[in-house]
Symmetry: C2
């Protein structure tokens, strides 16, 4: 599947990767609000106009950093079939990449206003994540782990909400064990699902 890229396209792709990586470093160090296109452009040796040639806006740039992360996470932890252990592995991995957690927490909050250019991206991402986690629950139900009394949609909302909220907590206090907390939530969902 590996494609050997050459010529100007390969150069463009390499530059694009470099920009995504530097954008992440700048956000990790300064936060989303203080991070500037000017600094990102300078650090990759481009003018701001040159940077905008690769990404039309700050919002597109951040969105693409997060999209690249999702693709990697999906390949590493979720393929071929998502499981709760795969999801917890993504969360455990998050604790290794604080810059991405910071970008995700800040940028998803900022983009919650419908007029935001990345609003549609997050809605689409959320639908994708819901879909994956619904599959996790249905497969756990098939396996008899989760009982019949479960509202899949509500359970998914809750798992995503807890994962989002825990990332914010973890940014404030790196001793918060996100995985242990989510495992407890899962145990609670399992317990309630077997109730009469």
């Amino acid at each position: 599947m590996a494609v050997v890229k050459r010529g100007p396209y390969a150069k463009g792709t390499a530059k694009r990767e470099e920009i995504l990586s530097v954008a992440l470093e700048v956000v990790a160090a300064k936060g989303c609000r203080k991070a500037s296109n000017r600094e990102i452009a300078e650090r990759v040796g481009l003018t701001q106009a040159g940077l905008m040639h690769h990404f039309a806006s700050r919002e597109e740039l951040y969105q693409e950093v997060l999209r690249a992360r999702d693709i990697r996470d999906h390949e590493m932890f979720f393929a071929p079939d998502p499981t709760i252990e795969g999801f917890l592995a993504v969360i455990a991995h998050n604790a290794e990449v604080p810059g991405l957690v910071r970008l995700y927490v800040e940028f998803s909050a900022e983009a919650s206003i419908p007029e935001h250019p990345a609003h549609a991206f997050f809605l689409e991402r959320y639908a994708w994540l819901r879909d994956g986690l619904s599959g996790v629950i249905l497969r756990a139900q098939d396996a008899g782990v989760i009982g019949p009394a479960v509202d899949v949609s509500a359970a998914v909302d809750l798992i995503v909400a807890a994962a989002d909220g825990l990332q914010l907590q973890w940014l404030n206090d790196h001793t918060v064990d996100m995985v242990a907390r989510l495992r407890r939530l899962w145990d609670g969902l399992v317990a309630v699902s077997h109730a009469a």
Copy 2:
């Protein structure tokens, strides 16, 4: 307990209240990132320097909007003793004040970076909230609702995380029933707490 305020102090207090209220309207309409001190100042009939006389910075202003909300919520729903129903009532009330939810979600995310001027405010607020919710769980335990097998600290983290994450979801989709989701979480925590 009502104090009749007069003279310049009363004037200052009224202006302060007006600023907090207008700041909230501007954030509700534009989001935290696009809201500007200039617009807030204009709408309350002050120069930006005049606005800064009341609040030293954008960050102090937003922080004080949230602090005023917490004081009101606490009086309305939590005093004298916090209960889970009181907490759920705060969440239900949030759905009536989308501007506050937007400000809270965006500003708490932005402030997660340790260098942020409101970072200490959110840490302090979090400790206060943890304290209230720990009391909720311990009293529920005394009443026999929550069983012995509960890690109070972990349960509190999870409730706050879910409430935070659900507010973000609700901003994106007002049909998300935050209270029903949190009640399910509580039921799960109750179920697991009675496990052998």
